[in-house]
Amino acid sequence: MKAPDLLKMVTRTINFGRTRAVLTSLGITIGIAAVALLTSIGEGVRSYVMDEFSQFGARIIAINPGKNVTGGMGGILSTVRPLSLQDAEALRQAPYVEYVVPVVQGAGAIEYKQRTRNVDIFGVSADMPAAWRFAVAQGRFLPRNNDARSSPYAVIGHKVKQELFQGESPLGQLIRIGGMRFRVIGVIEPKGDMLGFDLDDTAYIPADLALDLFNREGLMEVDVIFSPATDSTYMSALIKKMLIQRHGREDFTLITQDQMLTSLNSILSVLTLAVGLLGSISLLVGGVGILTTMTTSVRERTSEIGLLRALGATRAQVLSLFLAEAVTLSTIGGVCGLLLMGVVTALAFLFAPEFPIRPHVPFLLIALLLSSLIGLIAGVVPALQASRLNPIDALRTE
């Protein structure tokens, strides 16, 4: 039998029992749509999170005080061997270093006239906007100072400006933070949330003043941004060497952003895969459906099979006829599933554009392949049953 003839016979049969074929395929359709949609959402979440984390750029190395960091809290904890502003300053002189941001974080009340607002306070350096890719919306950022004590300037987030100044221009105004007076010289553009910290409800002050304010000895973190002319491996080694020289031992921890992004990426990819696997439980049930209807089909068409055999069809031909039917049914289901998923994606795009859904072509192709494979597997048993029928017995059943 030639392939086109086989196909014609199969489509004829499917067309004849149309309701049954539609329902059999529908099971696979739902399963494939679920798998495709879920992996697309997984992929969407992955790229959303990656964007969120890489907004600071990939060429960041974060240095935290203390070795053997417990629970990621290394910077927050006190330490007998702090990371100092002098360390940060020294790193600024290193080759390939573009920006260095020392970080001290705490919370405090900002007072302006009669108004008070309790917010996050970041002690940073002049490099911060460039290093973290923040833009100043109004005024300017903290000035660079050379080893002298910083001037008491502050830059505030968008929300602090709204809450405290309520329409007035904050530039040049004096505010009070924990008993120290600062002059507002700039406002940061709205940035939104980042891991539970509202970056707009924040004030930025020079790191040395922040250390004084919080009565703290050491920095919580130092971020080093290096030039694209080198890579993170080289830079890590360099920073490590420099700091060991300064401290006499390795009492700090380095986290490179690309390392973190890579591990985050692989975690999220595994999650996407896992979600896809969850969706394929439905495909399994759809496979059970194909097995059931195909087996019923073989039983009902026993005499037809007998006739085919009497007309000279070989076992292989009967086998391939039924296998082709199963594969066709499941592949049709798969294609419809992808179409369904396309419709859902389009709707999501129209009505909820921020919903993270990103169809990933390789996953879709795998899903399609999977649907054909399910048909093949589910079709094997009934097709074998059909091919093993004895033509005389088969004909006699009518």
Binding site: L23, T70, V119, N215
Partner: protein
């Protein structure tokens, strides 16, 4: 027709068409088992993770220096604020009668050494009462001594892992450990907690809070814990603490009070949503099972056309015929989902035996919902075939195909 007769009739049909009955059951079993199993896993993971992070009783308040007005964000976890929270502040709280006990916390990293062994480790400055609040138990020796918290006694309690790393199999009690430029005599060893997330006391050294203040050259406390006598008194006590601190801090309310439950609530929320999502995804397979039921039922109707005709000739009404098919689906769904429940419950039970620290198991409402959804789906998808059967004209049905 009586319910019992209906059930017996259905049962005969199901036994008669064993293959398709089994296949439909398998579909339903997979669906229900997947829902129950996955929610059970998710729920177990949620409780396990929460348990790992909840060391404190429900009636313990955590006091942090600093305050934020940002809504919905994180509390000021860094513990840095312009004004320190001091031991005097803490002592002032003990005069509240609703407070059972209080404990301060200073946490830091320091390099510890014993003889030639060096170890960078987590050092906690606290008091005697911390052991009770944090539910730490001792393997050997005793806890930090009670008494005046401002007295910087040179003693320490070691976590089990830390003790092993510094001392190996040798006895540690009575030995002196060096931390920074100070020396501490080991007076106790903590009992290991096994698996632990968050701050792991297995690798920590506990010293009197005043010693920690000196070691880290810092006066301010990182946290203060206050155990309230009962959960009922939580809110009034919270207000009382706020007003005491405000009074002491020149009229400024610059601390944050939080319970551990509140701290973990958003985390809890995320895990709960994830569990539900996973269960829901598994639930899609029930819809597929529904489609299969419909398909098989339609096939069944066309194969049993003659039988339906006969029943109608014998006086079965359309309603009776419809009920015959619907009740078959119902019976199938009930048996299938119960088996699915049984299988998933045994798997979860086996999981609990293997990993006894993870409380695997789905909540009752999920089990009810899984079975309920299976039954409703089965009835919904069986409705069309049942209606088709009921609508068959008796004469056409009888002449359609000859029975035996």
């Amino acid at each position: 027709m009586r319910a019992m007769d209906l059930a017996r009739f259905n049962f005969q049909v199901m036994v008669g068409h064993r293959f398709r009955t089994i296949m439909l059951m398998i579909a339903l079993i997979i669906g229900v088992a997947a829902v129950n199993l996955l929610t059970g896993l998710g729920e177990g993971a949620r409780l396990f993770v929460l348990g790992e992070f909840s060391f404190l009783g429900k009636n313990t308040l955590i006091i942090m220096p600093g305050k934020k007005e940002t809504t919905g964000g994180m509390p000021p976890i860094t513990g840095e604020a312009p004004r320190d929270l001091t031991l005097e502040d803490m002592r002032a709280l003990t005069r509240l009668s609703a407070i059972n006990r209080t404990a301060p916390l200073i946490a830091g990293m320091a390099e510890l050494s014993y003889q030639s062994r060096l170890r960078e480790s987590f050092v906690v400055g606290t008091t005697h009462d911390f052991f009770a609040i944090r539910k730490l138990s001792l393997l050997q020796g005793r806890a930090l001594p009670p008494g005046d918290p401002t007295f910087a006694d040179a003693v320490c309690v070691l976590g089990q892992t830390l003790k092993r790393e510094l001392f190996g199999p040798e006895p540690a009690l009575g030995q002196w450990v060096r931390a920074g430029d100070r020396r501490f005599r080991v007076i106790g060893i903590l009992e290991g907690k096994g698996v632990a997330m968050g701050l792991n006391f297995d690798e920590a050294m506990l010293i009197p809070v005043a010693s920690a203040q000196m070691l880290f050259n810092q006066e301010g406390l990182f946290r203060v814990f206050a155990e309230v006598r009962s959960e009922r008194e939580l809110t009034p006590t919270r207000n009382a603490i706020l007003s005491i601190i405000k009074e002491r801090h020149d009229g400024e309310e610059d601390i944050t009070l939080i319970t551990q439950d509140a701290l973990l609530s958003s985390f809890d929320e995320i895990l709960r949503t994830l569990t539900l999502a996973v269960g829901g995804i598994a639930g899609i397979s029930l819809a597929v099972a529904g489609v299969l039921i419909m398909n098989v039922m339609l096939i069944s109707v066309s194969q049993r056309t003659a039988e339906i005709g006969l029943l109608k000739a014998l006086g079965a009404s359309a309603a009776t015929v419809r009920r015959l098919f619907l009740s078959e689906a119902l019976l199938l769904a009930i048996i299938g989902s119960l088996i699915g429940l049984l299988i998933s419950e045994s798997l979860l039970a086996a999981g609990r035996l293997l990993y006894n620290q993870i409380p695997l198991g789905s909540p009752v409402w999920v089990k009810v919902a899984a079975v309920g959804v299976a039954i409703v789906t089965a009835l919904l998808f069986a409705y069309l075939p049942a209606r088709k059967a009921a609508a068959l004209a008796p004469v056409e049905a009888l002449t359609h195909k000859q029975g035996p």
